[in-house]
Symmetry: C2
Subunit: 148 residues, 2 copies
Amino acid sequence: MSGNSRLCVAVHVLTWMALDQRDPAAVATSQRLAVSVNTNPVVIRRCLGQLREAGLVQSRRGAGAGWNLTRAPEQITLLDVHLAVGDDEQLFALHHSPPSGSCPIGFGIQPALRPVFGRLDEAVRRELATTTIADMLRDVLAQQPATA
Amino acid sequence: MSGNSRLCVAVHVLTWMALDQRDPAAVATSQRLAVSVNTNPVVIRRCLGQLREAGLVQSRRGAGAGWNLTRAPEQITLLDVHLAVGDDEQLFALHHSPPSGSCPIGFGIQPALRPVFGRLDEAVRRELATTTIADMLRDVLAQQPATA
DNA sequence: CTGGATGTAACAATAATTGCTACATCTAGC
DNA sequence: GCTAGATGTAGCAATTATTGTTACATCCAG
């Protein structure tokens, strides 16, 4: 394992829902999503819970319930997803235990590094904002093998 | 703990060495560096070992030994450091277990996601390349309290 | 030859992520 | 109302990465 796969799973789920909702009779459940993602339904519900808190999806409870996108796929960027799944911690961590304040470098390194790391985070956010779930759905469908 | 702090520690160490080597008589040892970073000398040696493999520093063994930069601080970018410390794995991970190949989304999501994640990595690398150890040293020294 | 440094293996502690079970809760439809 | 079927969520185990630490082999200036 290396980093986390929350963004990957969330994008998978949203793209799946974007395709699924083209059929008005279709119902997106955590069970069906779990089969596509190849994981446990609870993992999907955890993920969808975060997306719901961010306002990207809605859930209905009770029998025959399921999930819906609250916006058009064109209006959901990967930055929205990224922020929703709480990957918003800094990309690179500072020191675990604070460096020596009595050394010039130890004293100034964190304040000097912070804006650099901030620019890195911003670069990632800028890039994430350029892709939407609609883009993802188009690219995913373009991967399909010829049905001949 | 969240991500790793290897880049932070490596930049700290290199910036320290850049300042230290202004005094020709100074010797950079893992012990002295560990005090500034506030960690164990072995952690520093591990870090310096990666920087040496990347050709950024040299080590001398034996008594009175220590470490040297192999280039001017102006010629070491944070991208060099990033690559040296092996943080080069993808920023965001793909699925742990491969998604369902019999679902259109499961089939195409990884190929569609890969170039997106590649662009993210590239955005980070581009940003990292804009800062050098010399920049860091200047900014660190600018943080010092007035010596009045 | 010896002191002092690097080089490195091995291990413990901590934390994050993921997958899983179990169960409470809700509601459409009978 | 009841019930089937779904969400909501607590809690735990397994895996992994990171960091810190001890211990010891190795090297070399003096």
